[in-house]
Amino acid sequence: MAELLLIARLAGRRIAFPASMVEAVVELEGLTPAPRAAAHVAGLSALRSRVLTVIDGLASLEFGRSGEGGLREAIVVPWDGHNYALMVDEVEDVVEAVAPPTPIKAPLGAGWDRVAIGMVEAGGGLILLVDPHLLIAGPAAHAA
């Protein structure tokens, strides 16, 4: 059975997440700031009675911060007993991977290198496969 991939856009690039790691795709309603939390934490939001820790994908890649306002699409990723909402530019589709991911031989540039699993042929092109947990962990966890 081929792996299902969730195709999304982050920092202007098309990326894929293993769909098995993603619980849902939501549009965030309201964002409660969490002052002094880690830099890549955009704040908190609620999904029904669950608190989501909202992760700014851009900030996690250390590409700056996502802009304020507007509808925010996010993927819900449960990890280690907590629920995270990973903000992306846009969620495109769920597709089947044509082949298993292959390692990338070339440097991807700062940020991406940290979160990449490999690249994968899907949806008519070669897409970077990203580990959402690494995005959630943020840059600090990697440094430590």
Partner: protein, 780 residues
């Protein structure tokens, strides 16, 4: 043990259930080898487990069935109807016994033997199946319970929380809509149902406290054996139910308390016999529910906590001032056991050090909204009482806001709520910090907005102050824009990236479904830099007791010295301020002196006599003598909590402190009076004590004590004459002469042939010193 039994019961019941199909098949086809094996495995497992639990009846039954079935398996016997019936009867009996174990009933045992005999093929037991078919007694309690995964329970809990939120939302909509009685009635019903479901689900999170107590007998036995003590454990109230997570949170503190009680509380059998107590100590652990709290009590009949010994340690460590010590009740002294870094045990043993960790115990209990009290009677025992809320997940909290964002604060940490602009509150800016004075009580002020790095929308005077007393910390005031409501909040842990801020205890949801962060009062204090951390604590240990209390303030006279520096001196020492003519100042008899009011006072604060004009002097008094201090101008009088950075060497200036953002040098009156001592006009003879210089312990701890005894302190230099000379036993150098020499050692053990006194042997010191004081007085 109870927990294991419960596991055994549940496991056996599960197996029985799974086996029921096999039994039916086997009954129809006794030759079915697979079923036979299945049933054999069951009785074999039961037999094995019974060996653990000392359940002789079950063991006997399962052993007999196993034997019979083994014979069949080995081909030594044919599984005829009689045997099948006998085996089934045994299995039924096992089921009954297991159920009885759970309900605590008795099952008649007289026909066990018949059942076993039937297995053996004894024809005397033919009637057994009929006997079994007899109707079961009506009175038997039905056991209805299932095992569920915790995940499922959590999902149900979440579902109910969702339902509560949806109900709240609906309630809001209904309030806005035109009234409709029928709809409202229906809504009321839904509300009531949801409340009931929530209640039920909450109860599923409960666990008997037994699971907490079950580990104790073994621990007590092992510890007692290790320490050569005899301890009898009495556990009571194991059927009290507590939130599952709460039980886990209490486990460590309770273990610690029990270890402490055995290690330090209960004496060795010999000591107990000497105190005419039973040889074996008794440790009572009990739990009971009182309202919406659970009380867990650990009581021993050991030697108790020596409150006075604790107080001595606290005094020696500078954690308690003499004044506080005098006012302390016995209960307060005992409660010192919770102070960080205090231990009454002279040596910390491998098991525990009472006190070392009791502060942690208290902090852990308070973190879950609980309280721990200690009650001790010397030589009669200690009773520790832990009170915790019924459930961990629902915390009574106060919601506050800053910059429009709502935060919650656990109510257990809140002392008081005040208006910042109120009459009882005064706020001063001290350097970059703010201090709130509330009815003569001075507490550091933390502005939540500044701490969080957000804008505040309210003027300070319109803000509210919340007095917080975090677990194991000092009281401080938190300034917020608004205070909203007391609420019972369902709190969940926050993600690590959020917890990293160090400010939060968890997250919760408001009625409208938006997330709220729960502030952690001690975390806030830590982030604001007002809590004692390790290094500060060490400094507090070295600092004099009077300064150990960070918030204690002194009224200071701020003045500009002749050198231009800003200096301060306690107002209490200033007798008066005077202008004297330059001619009154003379360098005479090796010192600068000033003639004022018909007396000659030594003059400090200036290098030389001014050529012309006037000199402004402070007349300082220590209650006995006087000296003058020349200065330029008075700046202000301020009451401040001093945090003095000490000067590198003793001298006129004790150190530097930050007052109103200015670096202010604080005078060292002790030094001043000591340095000018020979010239200070003393009204009466005082015994003189020579103290070695540069020993922080002597300067900070011993000196106040000596002064309180009426000694005048001089530095033990060459040629100084004193009534009593203090020497360190470790570094004795006899350069000063004295009528009496008191040698003080820093280690409790006496050296061979030494006449020194241990520095914390207060009684010994006092008696030696009062002899000196009398002698000194008599000489003078």
């Amino acid at each position: 043990m109870d927990e294991l039994i419960n596991d055994f019961i549940a496991e056996t019941r599960d197996m029985l259930q799974a086996l029921s199909g096999a039994i039916v098949v086997w009954e129809a086809h006794p030759g079915d080898r697979e079923r036979l094996d299945e049933i054999f495995r069951f009785v074999h497992t039961v037999k094995g487990n019974c060996g653990f639990f000392d359940l002789p009846r079950l063991e006997l039954l399962s052993h007999a069935a196993e034997g019979a079935l083994a014979e069949v398996r080995a081909g030594g016997r044919v599984a005829d109807t009689r045997l099948v019936n006998a085996v089934l009867a045994v299995i039924d009996r096992i089921g009954e016994l297991v159920q009885a174990l759970e309900t605590g009933e008795n099952v008649a045992s007289e026909d066990d033997e018949q059942l076993i005999a039937a297995l053996a093929g004894n024809s005397a037991a033919e009637a057994v199946p009929e006997a079994l078919a007899a109707p079961e007694p009506e009175s038997r309690k039905a056991v209805r319970s299932i095992r569920l995964s915790v995940d499922l329970l959590d999902r149900m809990m979440n579902g109910v929380s969702d339902a509560v939120l949806a109900r709240n939302e609906l309630a809001r909509r209904l309030r806005d809509a035109p009234r409709d009685v029928a709809v409202e009635t229906a809504f009321e019903r839904v509300s009531a149902c949801i409340a009931e479901i929530r209640d039920g689900i909450t109860r599923t999170r409960m666990q008997r406290i037994d699971s907490l107590f079950s580990g104790l007998p073994r621990m007590v036995r092992d510890l007692a054996a290790e320490l050569g003590k005899q301890v009898r454990l009495e556990a009571d109230g194991g059927d009290v139910e507590l939130d599952r997570e709460m039980i886990e949170m209490i486990r460590d503190p309770l273990t610690h308390i029990v270890r402490n009680a055995i290690d330090h509380g209960i004496e060795s059998p010999a000591d107990r016999a000497a105190a005419s107590k039973p040889k074996a100590g008794t440790l009572r652990v009990s739990a009971r529910q009182a309202g919406n709290q659970i009380l867990i009590e650990v009581a021993d009949d050991g030697r108790g906590i020596d409150g006075d010994a604790l107080l001595r340690k606290a005094r020696a460590a500078g954690l308690v001032s003499a004044e506080q010590a005098d006012r302390m009740t016995a209960a307060q002294k005992t409660a010192l056991v919770f102070m960080p870094s205090l231990s009454t045990a002279e040596e910390v043993t491998a098991i525990s050090g009472r006190g070392v960790g009791m502060d942690v115990v208290r902090a852990n209990i308070e973190r879950i909204g609980g309280v721990v009290d200690v009650d001790s009677k010397l030589n009669q025992g200690v009773r520790l009482c832990i009170r915790v809320p019924l459930t961990l997940t629902i915390i009574p909290a106060l919601t506050v806001s800053v910059d429009g964002q709502v935060f919650a604060i656990p109510r257990s940490a809140i002392d008081e709520i005040l208006r910042a602009g109120g009459a009882t509150v005064r706020i001063d800016r001290v350097g970059e910090a703010e201090v709130a004075t509330i009815r003569d009580r001075r507490v550091p002020l933390v502005a939540l907005a500044a701490l969080l790095g957000v804008e505040t929308r309210a003027e300070r005077a319109e803000q509210k102050l919340i007095l917080l007393k975090p677990a194991g910390g000092d009281v401080y005031a938190l300034a917020v824009d608004g205070v909203h409501d007391h609420e019972e909040l369902v709190v969940k842990p926050a993600a690590p990236a959020v917890m990293a801020a160090g400010l939060y205890a968890g997250t919760t949801l408001a009625d409208d479904g938006s997330p709220i962060l729960l502030l952690d009062p001690s975390g806030v204090a830590k982030c604001a830099g007002i809590s004692f951390d390790e290094s500060e604590l060490e400094r507090a240990l070295l600092a004099p007791a009077a300064e150990a209390e960070a918030t204690r303030e002194t009224t200071l006279l701020l003045f500009r010295a002749l050198s231009g520096a800003c200096r301060a001196v306690p107002v209490a020492l200033v007798e008066r301020i005077e202008d004297v003519a330059a001619e009154a100042v003379r360098f005479s008899a090796g010192k600068l002196r000033v003639a004022v009011g018909g007396r000659i006072l030594p003059l400090a604060g200036c290098e030389a006599a001014p050529a012309t004009g006037k000199l402004r002097i402070l007349r300082l008094t220590d209650g006995v003598g006087e000296l003058a201090y020349g200065f330029a101008e008075v700046i202000d009088i301020r009451a401040v909590a001093l945090d003095v950075q000490p000067a590198p060497a003793p001298g006129e200036v004790a150190g530097v402190a930050l007052i109103d953002g200015l670096q202010v040098e604080t005078l060292d009156p002790y030094w001043l009076f000591a340095a000018h001592r020979d010239a200070v006009e003393a009204s009466e003879a005082q015994p003189v004590c020579a103290l070695p210089e540069g020993d922080p312990w002597m300067d900070n701890m011993l000196r106040p004590m000596l002064e309180s005894l009426g000694y005048r302190i001089v530095a033990a230099r060459d040629g100084v004459a004193a009534d009593i000379l203090i020497q360190s036993a470790e570094a004795a150098d006899g350069t000063a002469s004295a009528a009496q020499i008191l040698r003080i050692r820093s280690r409790p053990e006496a050296e061979e042939g030494g006449d020194s006194i241990y520095r914390y042997d207060r009684a010994g010191l006092l008696s030696a010193l009062s002899r000196g004081a009398v002698k000194g007085g008599a000489n003078g």
